[in-house]
Amino acid sequence: MALDVLYFAWLRERIGQPRERIETDAATVRELVAQLAAMDEWHAAALSDLSAVRVALDQELADLDAPLGAAREVAFFPPMTGG
């Protein structure tokens, strides 16, 4: 299936783009991360420490082990620092 993958803050900077369209068979977020990290060194570096990465599936916060299900948009970003 095709997914829109979005990056924010330093993840966006390290990967070098704010979003990309990915063709994937991944069943979970973690499998998608493995696929992305294998693409090139920038993805690998940005996604190397998953303790510093948060995930949203279709704009809802999700775990790394969440199934991708019918999600159309997956976002990766650092812990939030609003307010």
């Binding site: 979005l6 924010f8 803050a9 330093w10 949203a56 704009q59 809802e60 916060l61 976002a75 970003f77 650092p78 812990p79 939030m80 620092t81 609003g82 307010g83």
Partner: protein, 144 residues
């Protein structure tokens, strides 16, 4: 019941005018860009268009239900904000002060750690580090 994301400055006095009519207690919080003794010139605030607005509304509604708020308001800015500028505010209105204070603190704890905003420091020499999440902000969520 207002959640608003915007680039422009807002006036807290205007936002509080007629806010919470009929309530007995109104609490407001506002967060400002600290200059940190000159180390910081500005903050750049990034957000996730779509998700950020939804999160602001969801936390406002959750606080209203949980604390019986008569009214609530969340305003958060994005883009470049100079030192001294107001970044955001929350306001809550309730019958008694306990609920108004609790509602405002609950909203702040959620916004700080769960709403999709990221801050980057801009110093005299240009863009610097992304602000790291503070462990105490995460801990603050545990009490609710």
């Amino acid at each position: 019941m207002v959640a608003r994301l915007q680039r422009d400055a807002f006036d807290i006095g205007e936002e509080l005018r007629d806010f919470g009519a009929g309530a007995g207690a109104i609490v407001s919080f506002s967060g400002l860009v600290r200059a940190e003794g000159g180390r910081l010139v500005a903050l750049e605030i990034e957000h996730y268009p779509g998700m950020t607005e939804k999160a602001m509304t969801a936390y406002g509604e959750a606080a209203a239900e949980r604390f019986g708020l008569r009214d609530w308001r969340i305003i958060h800015r994005h883009g470049r904000l100079e030192a001294g500028e107001t970044i955001m505010m929350v306001a809550t209105a309730a019958r008694h002060r306990r609920a108004a204070f609790d509602g405002a603190e609950y909203l702040m704890d959620w916004l700080k750690s769960r709403a999709p905003f990221w801050k980057r420091e801009i110093g005299p020499a240009g863009p610097g580090a992304w602000v790291e999440a503070r462990a105490e902000d995460e801990d603050a969520l545990a009490r609710w």
